[in-house]
């Protein structure tokens, strides 16, 4: 009797803490999004009221869409993210396969060399990266960003994927070899489909920092045509500090796409993060 009661008490306490923290996590986002739909007067008079017919006003959104080329920024971000992701996954999986499948001299050393990048941030090489991009004529191109993000994402991708590839059954690959498949066919048609869940994990982990990065777009590609959405909103909001409607609308426009993507992929992401637990 007393035991069940203490159990219920604990569970209520657990829910109370979790709900409190959930509110702390969501409240700022919520406040910004609801206020972006309200008139200037309503934003200041009653910031916590949800938007309704009396205070409804879309002037912030119209300003934003007239002023900033958000569609272009969004396309740039998409291009950079998707291309980098493609190269990280392809090159990362190939290297991970070589490291996990074949025994050769220098295998361990090569693995350590590639893992070094997990601990040492690529930003510290910025000075020389900029010099390199200047001499290659790649400043203010999306290619520069794609190259940098590919290099940045590879270490973790190789590390995670080679762990997973070790668990692909040898019998399957040897059966393929007996059937006369080349090593390349074995990799692309047998191994890759089997490590899809791991690829999804790597994809999510690679994608978030690329999409959100401000440092490299600011340094390597700040021109109007190559701005990413993160840099674009930073510059835009900086210009409109006093136009509260526009600032709130710009923030909401930047939040919503990421939020929608996250809600679609959150199960995959959480499964990926906790995948180590199911060994």
């Amino acid at each position: 009797m007393s035991k069940t009661r203490s159990h219920a008490g604990r569970s209520i306490a657990a829910h109370a803490i979790l709900i409190t923290y959930t509110l702390i996590a969501l409240f700022p986002v919520f406040v910004i999004v609801i206020n972006s739909f309200k008139s200037r007067r309503a934003i200041f008079a009653e910031p916590l009221m949800p938007p309704m017919p009396g205070n409804w006003d879309l002037v912030g959104y119209t300003t934003v869409l007239e002023q900033g080329d958000f569609f272009q920024y969004f396309l740039n971000s998409m291009t950079v993210t998707v291309a980098s992701l493609f190269f990280v996954l392809l090159f990362g999986a190939m290297a991970a396969f070589a490291l996990s499948e074949y025994r050769f001299r220098g295998n361990l050393l090569m693995g350590l060399y590639l893992a070094l990048g997990i601990m040492i941030p690529i930003r510290l090489g910025t000075v020389a990266i900029l010099e390199l991009m200047v001499s290659a004529g790649l400043v203010n191109t999306l290619t520069a960003l794609i190259l940098v993000y590919t290099a940045q994402g590879l270490p973790l991708a190789v590390f995670i994927l080679s762990e997973f590839m070790r668990s692909v059954s040898d019998d399957l690959k040897n059966a393929g070899r007996i059937d006369g498949l080349s090593e390349y066919r074995i990799f692309f048609t047998l191994v890759l489909p089997l490590v899809r869940p791991a690829m999804a994990t790597v994809a999510v982990f690679t994608m978030i920092p690329i999409w959100n990065d401000l440092w490299f777009p600011l340094i390597l590609a700040p021109s109007e045509e190559t701005k990413t959405i993160t840099l674009g909103s930073q510059v835009f909001i900086g210009q409109f500090v006093t136009n509260w409607n526009a600032v709130l609308a710009a923030l909401s426009l930047a939040i919503v796409p990421v939020l929608v993507l996250y809600l679609i992929f959150s199960r995959q992401l959480i499964r990926g993060i906790t995948a180590g637990a199911v060994k």
């Binding site: 996590a25 000075v127 930047a254």
Partner: protein
Amino acid sequence: MARRKPFRWHIGVFLAPAVLVYTAIMIIPLFGTLNLSLFNLEGQNRIFVGLANFATLFGDPRWSDAFWNALGNNCWFFIIHMIVQNPIGILLAALLSSPRLRMAAFYRTAIFIPTILSFVIVGFVWKLILSPIWGIAPGMLDAVGLKFLFAPWLGKEEYALTTLALISVWQFVGIPMMLIYAALLSIPDDVIEAAEMDGLTGWAQFWKIKLPLILPSIGIISILTFVGNFNAFDLIYVAQGALAGPDFSTDILGTFLYRTFFGFQLQLGDPYMGSAIATAMFGIILVGVCIYLFGIQTRLRRYQF
């Protein structure tokens, strides 16, 4: 084992793209930066100056004051993360991993949301919420009768850095939560059952059984936090600008590097001193990682199930 061929070209083909891109864009520039820190301009020519840039950085008061200020602020930034972010993350993970908890998936998803937002969003959102002009924060404190506590936190030298560190904690608490959650889920049921047989439940069970088992994960989180914090830049840049105001009270190594390398206002950018700062950051991160790898990780007891 497959047949041995004299030279297996396919290994090279599989490895080449990753190794080439990684070496060209990451390793060579990193060493290029380390190398550049040993040079400086004399007139128009780039000359080798040895460690003179470092002597300037650590010795010349014009540079060293800013450097030690940034380093000190960075340490405080890291300490706040260690004492606030990681305990909260562990607490949330412990609660989430309790069996029979309803809505666990909802909490997990919601608490992770700030982590996916960009620094730009996070910086501006909190700037608006803490702004005395808008009055959300003072209004809410007023509602619970604590209005006297309100101050323009981001504008005061004493509070600005701590406030930014707490904002960063708010953003990233999802990462320790998820990693610890995964570690807690991987504890086998029989260990927990054995503990329950011996009468260990609730918090006692957490402290005596689970915590020792997740110590390696806590170690990994600490080192990730360390590397992330000593490499931070975006949040401060978005919230306070490159000058890391008020009066450099929120300046950390990342913003100091940015200002030095690109210049600001009337000061011109200086790639050589910038490289020296990047090299110093590299050294700090390397020392931290080595302390962890050789001093802490080897002493952690690992349990195999």
